[in-house]
Structure formats: C-alpha cells, structure tokens
C-alpha cells in the first residue's frame, strides 16, 4: 500500500497534464483565451511566489516586469524578430533590473524592498505611457504576431494555447529543479528562520537578491507570452493593480507552496468571470471573498491542506515516539 501511495502524486500530475491537453480541445475561442491567460498569469505568479513565498520578500513590481516582457516581445516581433529572441532579452533585462533594484534596498531593511518596487512600478507605468516614441504611448502596440513553433503557425486559439501551456510546463520544470537544489533549501531556510540560516553560512542577502531577480525574470517571461496572446498591448494592464493581483494570487493560493500560484491564478482569472453576472458588484465581491479567505486561512488554500497534513504527521510522529525511544532515552 505504501508503494502505491508514493506514486500517487505522479499519477495525479499526469492526469492533470493530460486533462489540460485534451479537455480544451472542445473549448470555444473565449474559453481557450481564458485558459491561456491562466497559464500566463501562473508563470508570473510562480516568479512572485519565489520572491515572496520562498525568500519572504514583498515585491510590488511584478506587474511592471510583465509589462517589460510584453513590450519587449511586442517591439521585437512587430519588427520581424523571433519571439525566442524576445524571450532571452526579456529574461536578461528583468533579471538585471531586479538585481539593480534589489541590491541597495536589501542592504537596508527587510520591508523596504516593498516600497522600492512600489516606486519602480509607478515609474515603469509612467514610462510605458509617456514614451510614445518607443511604446506607442496610450495607443499601444497592435498587430502583434503569433510565433511559428518548429514551423507550425500558432495563429489559431488552440495551437497558441499549447504554446502557453508548453511555456508553463518548461517554467514549472525549471522551478522544480531550482527548489530541489541547494538553492531551494537555502531559500526555504531564509524564509523560515533567517537568523539560524545566517549562522549556518547562508548568505541571506545574496540568496534573497537571487530569488527576487529570478522571480522578476519570470514576470518578464509571462509578459513575453502575454503580448502575442492578446496581440495588442497598451500601458493600462501593467500598472500597480496587476502587481497587487499577482500578490493576491500568491497569497490566496498559498504562499510558499509549489502549486499555490496555479490555484491562485485560477481563482484570480476564473472567479471574476463567474462573478461577472453581478456586474458592478463583482470587484467588491471578489475583494470580500479574498478578505474572508485570508481571515479563515492566512496561509492560503494550500495552507489549509498543509495544516491538515501536518496534524496527521504530528499525530503519527508522537505515536512513533511513544513506541520507540532514542537510544539515549532508555528508562533508567
């Protein structure tokens, strides 16, 4: 029975992946658009989850990084350059900016990164809006082409959805590798107990900076997919609200849990759609829902699951401890 239990997560993942590939074949254009948006936002949320959930830093600029990625892709592809090139450039650009932003802020105090990213978010939006010679200003950039992957055109909704899904898959694998590596362990340590981590030689500053820079780069990746998805971008979606939305996605899904962003993005993208029937009230209801969820479980949806599992684990551990004492603790 134990053997089977070990394979449960793999079986579950395989089933979910299969469903994500097969089920949408029956969706209409709008459904595919929403699902592609979910995939894109999950990538951005995963980046933020790394910064926030693993390294414990609040970034209010993730939306701006998505914007930088989007504009990079839009500008390059509308001038005939390949999307892959835009991807590479966006990653480098966002990583570098993340490093530059984070370096001085982290020298200082824990929560100051939040405010520096807040400032950067505003500045980025202003640049997007004002520098029309580059970004098209409030008119934006239109007719963004969809890429050809290995010779296949992706102009139709379903093929491009697979592009988004594929990107999500690649990002997920990379994150999985990162979290399993010693870096992942260091990230977790500096979230759980930075003082202890420091006393063990973990350079908390450098790891925090890395988490923030990588997280920001992932924001850029999401943006690079977002541009050809909507095929038209203007500054409006990339303001502070997007950063706050992404933050909510991470917290509501469960900050620090690997699959938290997937759930959070699902809620953030799908819930407003369902609530749209209430018209003007939908944002209020959404806000109320988020508040209530946070009061009930500040560690998010996966936090509830984790608490449940942890209780079962401690009960099992106490039982085990009662049964076998350590070699030291023999009854005198």
């Amino acid at each position: 029975m134990r053997e089977l239990r070990k394979y449960l997560p793999f079986a579950l993942s395989a089933a979910v992946v299969a469903a994500l590939i097969v089920v949408p074949m029956n969706f209409n254009r709008y459904g595919l658009f929403i699902l592609s948006q979910w995939a894109t936002m999950t990538i951005a949320a995963m980046g933020l989850n790394l910064t926030l959930g693993y390294a414990g830093q609040v970034s209010l600029a993730q939306g701006a990084f998505v914007g930088i990625g989007a504009y990079t892709a839009a500008l390059m592809t509308t001038h005939g350059l390949p999307l892959a090139g835009a991807l590479a450039l966006a990653i480098l650009l966002c990583f570098a900016i993340g490093w530059l932003l984070g370096y001085p802020a982290l020298r200082v105090q824990h929560h100051y990164l939040a405010f520096v990213t807040l400032a950067f978010s505003t500045l980025a939006f202003l640049v997007f809006r004002n520098e029309s010679w580059l970004t098209g200003g409030t008119y934006g950039i239109s007719n963004i082409p969809r890429p050809a992957i290995f010779g296949f055109a992706t102009n139709r909704p379903l093929p491009f959805y697979y592009v988004c899904l594929g990107m999500l898959g690649i990002v997920t694998l990379c994150m999985w590798w990162l979290i399993r590596s010693p870096w992942g362990r260091a990230f977790m340590a500096l979230r759980e107990n930075p003082i202890r981590a420091q006393s063990l030689g973990v350079d908390t500053r450098r790891y925090t900076l890395m988490a923030f820079a990588i997280g920001s780069a992932l924001g850029g990746v999401a943006g690079v997919i977002y541009a050809p998805l909507t095929q038209y971008i203007d500054p409006v979606p990339f303001n502070l609200s997007l950063s706050l939305d992404l933050l909510m996605m991470v917290i509501v899904g469960g900050s620090g849990f690997f699959f938290g962003p997937f759930l959070g993005a699902m809620i953030a993208v799908l819930l407003p759609e369902w609530l749209r029937v209430t018209e003007g009230y939908y944002l209020m209801l959404y806000a109320a829902a988020v508040i209530l969820l946070l009061i009930w479980s500040p560690t998010g949806i996966l936090g509830i699951l984790d608490r449940f599992l942890a209780e079962r684990r401690t009960r099992a551990a106490s039982a085990k401890r009662a049964g076998t004492k350590s070699q030291w603790e023999t009854v005198a």
Partner: protein
C-alpha cells in the same frame, strides 16, 4: 601560533546600559572554555558580539589571527565559526537529514555549483555520519519538528558541526535536557572535540556540566571578566562565590 579566538577589550552599550564592559580573553586550539556568570552578566551579549549578531561598541575580535569584528554571521560561519542556540532553532518542516545537509551546504562549492550540481550538494554521506555519531539514525527522515526537545538539542549540535568549524560557540547546550541524556551529550561533545580538534566556548548554567567538560572556565559579572582559570580553582574562588551568592 595564534589563538583560535582572541577577544580584545570588547564593549557593548545599549543606550545608557553597558552590557559588556571591556572583556578580553584568548582561546587556544582544542580547548573547551566554559563561560559562566549570574544572569545579566553579559554572557549572551558577548557571544552575540563575537558572532556578528551584534556590532560591538568597541574592541576587537580575531579568529585565527584574522580580524572579524562586525562581520555578518554568515561570513563568520564561512570562516569556520559556528554556534548552537539557547532557544532551539532547527527547521521543523525539514527532515533531520535535510537539516544537516542545509547546515553543511554553504561550505561546499560555489553558488553556481550549488545551483547546477547535486540536490544534496554531495552531503548525504556526511549527514548520515553525523546522524550516526549523535545516534539519531531511526529519526533521519522524520521532520525535525516532530522530535523531542532533547533530540532537537542533539540535532542543533550536529548542525553546528556539519560545516567542519574551527570554533563552536554553544549557548546553554544542557538547558532543558533531561539528566539521563546529559552525560551522553557531554560525552559526544568531548568526543567531537577530541576527534576534530574543534575549539569550544560554552555558556552554561549547569555547574556540574561545565566543570566536568571544560578545560578552563571564565566567570563574568556585570559585563566584566571576574575570574579565569581551571574549574577547580574557579569553584573555590571567593570572588566567584560572592558574585553568585550576592545576586
């Protein structure tokens, strides 16, 4: 040969309060130095000044002849100084083995090799060795949060040794450990001290523990060194007795 640890005239003020008032001492390689004194005499503050948790208001600290005053704790750790904590600080969600791998990984390779290399940074064997040494074998895969207090104390000590430190500062290692485990803890610490020529400084309130483990004992009172010498001498020193009784 320079001492492993040289503390020269270290002082620490908090606003109007002087917690450490000019403390100087040396620790030679392989020594186990005990640090005792009544509550509030400045022992923990001194520790924190040595370890970089606090920046001293004055004075100097040298490790193996290198000045380390005011370096950050992570830098000190990589220079070979590690510590245990009075209040337990293991990582409860990680397994015992994972805790130990974490404790040693920053000493293996570079940032880059740690990203692209093995998930355990090649430390599984060393971790298992440590687990065996501290007799935590059957708990190796258990989450550290599920261990008993005494077991967590052992893990805490084990973590301090994973990085192969030159100098280990132990903050009340015997605190809260039940008597049946105390002699074994003492024996393990003495063994590691012998086998690895690791140098210890131990803050403790448990007199019997200190006197039997340590080669030298330093007594602090009111932020200053009151006496320094072999355990027997300290035990009989009238000023020391006065300092404890007078409180």
């Amino acid at each position: 040969m320079s001492a492993v640890l040289e503390v020269s005239d270290v002082r620490k003020n908090f606003g109007g309060i002087t917690a450490v008032n000019g403390v100087s001492f040396d620790v030679q390689e392989g020594e186990i130095l005990g640090l005792i004194g009544p509550n509030g005499c400045g022992k923990s503050t001194l520790f924190n000044c040595i370890l970089g948790q606090l920046t001293p208001s004055g004075g100097e600290v040298k490790v193996d002849g290198k000045p380390v005053t005011g370096l950050r704790p992570s830098e000190l750790n990589r220079l070979g100084v590690s510590r245990t904590f009075q209040l337990l600080q293991v990582f409860p969600k990680l397994s015992v083995r994972e805790n130990l791998i974490l404790a040693g990984q920053e000493h293996r390779g570079s940032m880059t090799s740690r990203l692209f290399g093995r998930s355990d940074a090649g430390l599984t064997d060393a971790a298992n060795q440590m687990i065996g040494f501290f007799k935590l074998d059957h708990l190796a895969d258990e989450p550290a949060g599920g261990l008993s207090y005494g077991q967590q104390k052992l893990l805490d000590a084990a973590m301090a040794f994973m990085g192969g430190p030159r100098l280990v500062l132990l903050d009340e290692p015997a605190g809260g450990v039940n008597p049946s485990m105390l002699s074994d803890l003492k024996e393990r610490l003495a063994a590691i001290n012998r086998e690895r020529r690791a140098t210890f400084v131990v803050i403790e309130h448990n007199m019997e523990f200190v006197m039997s483990l340590c080669s030298r004992v330093m007594v602090m009172a009111e932020g200053r060194v009151l006496a320094m010498g072999r355990p027997d001498d300290i035990r009989r020193n009238p000023a020391v007795i006065e300092a404890y009784l007078g409180h």
